[in-house]
């Protein structure tokens, strides 16, 4: 049956081709236009969506940073007064309380990012190295380590916020039964809040590092290690001279992505602390959110966002420039 219908179709096509033969130019021309159009048509939805979702709001955001868009004007944006650079001056005047808290928030974010990216990379690398080798139960560990990454972010962080409660929280309970503390520490206020946030962010981010590095490791041929072993290179030397250089392209992209995600992290502090986090955990995204949605000053919030964007662009540009040049040289 199937073969019959195939035959029918094949048979049916031939006469059609023959029928088309009196005007040989036509099909070719159609194909040519199609060829030229196809790439545009294929890319058009992406470009349109990119414009609508990213570029247009970004341009609007930049415009907002130059106008005094406060509560008095949000119903009719066009009437908001042009304020030029005053919002930027306000944000960058570090002697004023507002500028000072912006600077503080920036500093906290830098420390937070360095710690989270650094520790996540360390964990990811160690786990990838261990699980790269073949042993019984490897699949189980691989799956287990990916759980935080697979979990919905909000659910994960909310669970942490329960665990970090003072009275009924698991963390205090464990610390008390181990005799480390009296079990009455606060983890979500004061300076501890910062460390809680770092722990939660590392928990969430390191599986990504692990996944990327594991994939990178799979691409290094075993022969290289065998040859190194024959030459008498120990495990540390192998890591130093084979694994790390081979993982360089992976690391380059991964560290950049982790950096950008962590620097812009909003979910972790928002779910842990709400819209007004403790001062120690006031990282930049939530700081901007506070200025915009809690204090209703969207112009100032946008100015800070634009500054953040500029900073991230400069850092990303410099990073790619430096490392790409070096890898080209290498």
């Amino acid at each position: 049956m199937t073969s019959n219908s195939t035959l029918d179709r094949t048979d049916g096509r031939r006469p059609a081709a023959r029928r088309g033969s009196p005007r040989p130019g036509r099909p070719r021309r159609g194909r040519g236009t199609g060829h030229r159009l196809t790439p545009y048509l294929l890319i058009a939805p992406a470009i349109i969506l990119e414009l609508l979702i990213h570029i247009v709001p970004m341009v609007v955001g930049v415009w907002m940073s130059f106008v005094g868009l406060t509560q008095a004007f949000i119903a009719n944006w066009s009437t908001a007064p042009w304020e030029g650079l005053s919002a930027y001056r306000l944000a960058l005047d570090f002697s004023s309380p507002i500028g000072n808290s912006f600077l503080h928030s920036f500093e906290v974010t830098c420390v937070y990012t360095v710690l989270v990216v650094g520790i996540s990379w360390g964990f990811g690398m160690s786990a990838a190295l261990v699980l790269h080798r073949n042993f019984r139960g490897r699949g189980l560990f691989r799956t287990l380590f990916l759980v935080p990454y697979a979990m919905p972010i909000y659910a994960g962080i909310m669970t942490w916020s329960f665990m970090l409660q003072r009275d009924n929280g698991l963390v205090n309970h464990v610390l008390k039964s181990l005799g480390v503390t009296g079990g009455d520490s606060f983890w979500l206020i004061g300076s501890n809040a910062f460390w809680s946030m770092v722990v939660v962010a590392v928990w969430r981010s390191w599986p990504f590092a692990f996944l990327m590095l594991l994939a990178g490791l799979q691409n290094i041929p075993d022969d290289v290690y065998d040859a190194a072993a024959v030459d008498g290179a120990g495990i540390w030397k192998q890591i130093r001279y084979i694994t790390l250089p081979a993982l360089r392209p992976v690391n380059l992209v991964m560290v950049l992505m982790l950096f950008l995600w962590t620097f812009n992290d909003f979910n972790t502090p928002f779910v842990l602390f709400g819209a007004q986090p403790p001062r120690s955990a006031d990282i930049i995204s939530i700081h901007i959110y506070g200025a915009s949605f809690v204090n209703w000053n969207f112009g100032f919030g946008s100015a800070m966002s634009v500054l953040l964007l500029a900073f991230l662009l400069v850092v990303t540009g410099a990073y790619l420039l430096v490392f790409n040049r070096r890898s080209r040289r290498a």
Binding site: R36, A75, Q165, W296
Partner: protein, 440 residues
């Protein structure tokens, strides 16, 4: 030429398609006649979450909206919105111009939202349409917007603070409910037994709204106003500092469970009180819902006005509650006014006040939110005689967040060891004030 046109046309068609999707999905106001006064109109109504859950609210409001539809032929499309999302949704609706026809707001936001110009001012005609200004309790009506302008909201549910006390714990300790703040402090000390996890006072220490409420109420007791006559922030007056200290000292004096510094959602402090872990609770009257849900009988607790320090002004609350507003760009203004009239009518108030534990907003109405007559009377007296509105200035919402957050940080400091001194408090308030000044 033709070939170039085709991709361009395709893109234009796609953009137009996307835009069309956007406009058709956001047109939520229904399709009525242009005046929107008659039957066949559909109103969109954003209700704030008043009961113990959003579903409860839907069940309570559903039959009433059906009743309204029967009376007027106007259908109401109800959306109950949780508190954490409500203000943001209102702001988004304000800035996009695509909002509901009628909505609930926290009454303390009224002046700030009035300043956006997005809400319909209740001028003489509009007030006439909803049954006149005189049908409202004057103190509640005054929360509708800044003084001297037509209000942009009218009261729907009224709430005030009171001091709940556990009758049995007080009787066992041989105490009577306090009449001065000093008595309250000494009672709280006597009733605290930290080793058993029992404290004199329950506190929602992480809630910035509670923080600013008490900063304001106690500041008023010390004769301080957070804004001067010209509407400028004045947070660091000795009275404001003393008021904040009065509240924070509860934590410094260890008559509050230190863990409650993390309470910020609403039901935690009433929960502690209902479970006998705290002997007193300063809360708005809708705490009744939570207390009963947590197993307390209305006869187990008494309510008195929150006392003032001896010789100070006896302000015991601010006028809390929920107001109703109409979006200015509604196509169904007449229908919306009819709906506001319906919701604020004595008959509906009588029905809604029970499940939502609210005081009536109608002048002369008897509270029926509790069967405990003494409690009802106490709250009614507080609203009538000892409650003042929060500052009716456009910067009110910034006052709430900046001062409330400062109070939370001070309570956190008190809970983790170092009791804030008056100068610490003044510095924190100064910072809040500076932020307002430079942000404005």
């Amino acid at each position: 030429m033709k070939r170039r046109l085709i991709p361009a046309l395709a893109i234009v068609a796609m953009v137009a398609g996307t835009a069309a999707c956007g406009s058709s999905s956001s047109g939520s106001s229904g399709t009525g006649g242009d005046s929107g006064s008659g039957s066949g109109t559909t109103l969109t109504y954003w209700a704030s979450n008043q009961g113990s859950s959003i579903d409860v609210d839907k069940q309570v409001l559903g039959p009433e909206l059906k009743k309204f539809e029967k009376q007027t032929g106007i259908k109401v499309d109800l959306q109950v919105i949780g508190w954490p999302d409500l203000l943001n949704k209102i702001l988004a609706a304000t800035s996009s111009g695509k909002g509901p026809d009628v909505l609930n707001i926290g009454n303390t936001w009224a002046p700030s939202l009035q300043a956006t110009g997005a809400f319909l001012p209740f001028d003489a005609n509009a007030l006439q349409a909803i049954g006149g200004k005189d049908k409202f309790v004057p103190a509640s009506f005054a929360t509708g917007g800044v003084e001297g302008k037509d209000p942009t909201s009218v009261p729907l549910y009224s709430l005030v603070y009171g001091l709940y006390y556990n009758k049995k714990m007080f009787a066992d300790a041989g105490l009577k409910p306090p009449t001065t703040w000093e008595e309250l402090q000494s009672d709280a000390r006597k009733l605290t037994d930290a080793s058993k996890g029992v404290y004199g006072m329950a506190m929602e220490g992480g809630s910035y709204t509670e923080g600013v409420h008490f900063a304001f109420i106690f500041g008023q007791q010390h004769g301080a106003d957070p804004f001067d006559a010209g509407g400028k922030a004045d947070f660091t007056s000795p009275g404001m500092v003393a008021g904040v200290k009065q509240y924070v000292d509860l934590m410094s004096n260890k008559v509050v469970n230190p863990s409650s510094v993390q309470y910020k959602n609403g039901p935690e402090a009433p929960g502690d009180f209902a479970k006998g872990k705290a002997a007193m609770l300063m809360s708005q009257n809708n705490a009744d819902n939570t207390l009963v849900a947590d197993g307390m009988k209305t006869s187990d607790y008494g309510v008195v006005a929150i006392p003032a320090p001896a010789g100070k002004k006896d302000t015991a609350s601010f006028v809390a509650g929920i107001n109703m507003s109409i979006f200015k760009n509604t196509k169904h203004q007449d229908a919306a006014l009819k709906f506001v009239k319906f919701m604020t009518s004595p008959a509906e108030q009588k029905i809604l006040d029970v499940p939502f534990a609210a005081l009536p907003v109608n002048a002369g109405a008897t509270p029926n939110f509790t069967k405990n007559a003494a409690e009802a009377k106490t709250f009614q007296n507080i609203l009538a005689e000892r409650a003042v509105p929060l500052p009716l200035v456009a910067d009110e919402s910034q006052f709430e967040t900046n001062v409330g957050n400062a109070v939370n940080q001070l309570i956190a400091q008190a809970a983790t060891g170092k009791a804030p001194t008056s100068s610490d408090i003044k510095a924190a308030l100064q910072q809040a004030q500076d932020k307002m000044a430079s942000a404005g």
